[in-house]
């Protein structure tokens, strides 16, 4: 990977972090709690997923720990959009 691509990848990651939030697909979730367990600021991520809601907690750092740790691919980042649909 070239140096330019490395910068590009890092920039994309940063953009995702500041302009994104975590959304869920509750049909994939089994409420195991790995997401909540690994959240550094103890947001109960699993409770949002049960309600089929995005993780819209103002304290969320969008660090991505829950996204990475979920063994079932329940969580993913998406661009923040105030007019988006529920669960998207």
């Amino acid at each position: 990977m070239s140096l330019l691509n490395l910068f590009k990848r890092d920039a994309t990651r940063r953009t995702t972090l500041y302009s994104g939030h975590v959304v869920s697909d509750s049909a994939r979730c089994v409420q195991c709690g790995i997401c909540s367990y690994n959240c550094p600021i103890e947001i109960d991520v699993r409770a949002f997923v049960w309600r089929d809601e995005a993780i819209k907690n103002s304290e969320c750092l969008t660090c991505g720990e829950c996204v990475i740790r979920c063994p079932r691919g329940v969580l993913r980042f998406t661009q923040t959009d105030l007019f988006e649909r529920r669960g998207e």
């Binding site: 979730c29 089994v30 409420q31 195991c32 709690g33 790995i34 063994p71 079932r72 691919g73 329940v74």
Partner: protein
């Protein structure tokens, strides 16, 4: 009005939430002989690997329970007295009900070979089983795992994570042959071997040999002996029907329920692994042992119990799991034939996956990223996505929504077709049309 729910799994809990959303005043009671109440049963796999702690497995706190205003009664229902609208508890006391939900789940089929009662012979049904495995693993070096499907792998990986040497016995020539194709089985097997699991093909257990009432070795039908301290089995599950055997409820392999989750008794409902529910996809009543259908069935049963007529529309079966560290999504019908390692259906399994549809198979693999599609005349019938999960959500929606893929069907059928790209492009257009 008194609602009684037998069973503390997700179907039962979802029913309570649904009832409370309609009826604020009625009395709700949940009865279970599992002292742990409601917890994430699929999460036990991650408890075994050490990815989470036992207390993490409880999705709800006492606060939640208090808000729902229901009582939990630890006990065993020994009889259902339909004509009296009553339950007999622990062979002694009685409890009346107005509406009853049976959500008692399924349990592991027993291993019926000599030595199966020895200490060190384990299964993974409940919290207590997981705790028992962890306790025994501390004093064990080697484990043998028999069975198929997801649970056998969960046991394998859990024991491996606890530092045990694991032998995995397979009856046939590959892993989960009725759901995965040859290549997918090989991917999983290769990863297990890389993790240090010793795989034994075409192997059947003859007996478990004990020493001082504890597992010491297993003998195979071939005559070979493997020394071990633990024998873990997952050879399938069976709905718990003991309670409903002689009360004239319509039964097949599970309790037969209509689209309202109602049995032939208008005041008795069934949901979750114990229920055999009418499926519009196959036109027959099928068993599922999946978390999300159990939750949905519980919700629908709860609404109907509280008088809000609601129909359960079964989506194409869908499950996500981790096979040898590889996130895998199985959607719709992808399997073929039967798996010699499983009797009945395995946990995390759905019977629909095993119906071989009249469909053609297109597939594409990228090292550990793999996708297989089952293509019908105009629609996608099923898909398996292993590794990269970006396309599993679109595929799930396209299969559930019956997307007409005629425009890309020919291209998908070309050998070595870039099926991931074709699906991704198609999704962009279809999504707009379907307003998703």
């Amino acid at each position: 009005m008194r609602y009684v729910i037998i069973g503390s799994g997700v179907a039962g809990y979802a029913a309570i939430e649904a009832i409370r959303s309609v009826d604020q005043a009625g009395e709700i009671m949940m009865i279970s002989d599992d002292p742990h109440g409601y917890y994430s049963r699929p999460g036990l796999a991650y408890y075994l690997t050490g990815e989470l702690q036992d207390k993490t497995l409880y999705p709800r706190t006492q606060d939640h329970y208090q808000k729902l205003k229901f009582s939990f009664l630890k006990g065993r229902v020994t009889r259902i007295l339909r004509s009296e609208h009553a339950l007999e508890l622990d062979g002694k006391s009685r409890l009346n009900y107005d509406k009853l939900l049976i959500a008692v789940g399924a349990r592991a089929l027993p291993l019926e070979i000599p030595g199966s009662k020895l200490e060190g012979v384990v299964k993974l049904d409940h919290f207590a089983d997981a705790r028992n495995i962890l306790k025994l693993a501390k004093s064990s070096r080697t484990a043998v795992v028999v069975g198929g499907g997801i649970t056998a792998l969960e046991l394998t990986e859990g024991l491996l994570a606890r530092g045990l040497k694991v032998h995995y016995l397979l009856r046939s020539d590959r892993y989960w042959s009725n759901v995965l194709d040859e290549r997918e089985s090989k991917m999983v097997q290769g990863r297990l071997q890389a993790e240090g699991v010793e795989l034994h093909y075409h192997t059947e257990l003859k007996e478990i040999i004990g020493k001082k009432n504890r597992v010491a070795a297993v003998q195979l039908k071939s005559g070979q002996t493997i020394k071990c301290d633990l024998l873990a089995y997952a050879i399938g599950i069976r709905p718990c029907l003991e309670l409903v055997q002689d009360i004239d409820l319509n039964l097949d392999r599970g309790i037969l329920a209509d689209e309202h989750l109602q049995t032939n008794d208008p005041d008795i409902f069934a949901a979750g692994d114990v229920a055999q529910v009418f499926d519009p996809l196959s036109g027959r009543a099928v068993l599922d042992s999946l978390w999300n259908p159990a939750r949905e069935q519980g919700q629908v049963a709860g609404m109907n119990m509280a008088g809000r007529k609601t129909a359960y529309l079964k989506s194409p079966p869908f499950n996500v799991t981790r096979l040898a560290g590889l996130t895998t999504t199985i959607i719709g019908a992808v399997g073929r034939g039967r798996d010699e390692d499983i009797v009945g259906i395995a946990r995390g399994d759905s019977e629909t996956w095993r119906d071989l549809p009249d469909a053609l198979v297109a597939q594409n693999g990228f090292d550990i990223n793999h996708m297989r599609l089952l293509i019908g005349e105009k629609t996608l019938i099923g898909a398996i996505v292993m590794g990269d999960q970006k396309l599993s959500w679109p595929l799930q929606k396209m299969i559930a929504g019956g997307a007409d893929i005629s425009s890309i069907r020919e291209k998908l059928m070309v050998p070595e077709a870039p099926i991931a790209d074709l699906i991704a492009d198609f999704w962009v257009t279809w999504r707009k049309q379907a307003a998703l």
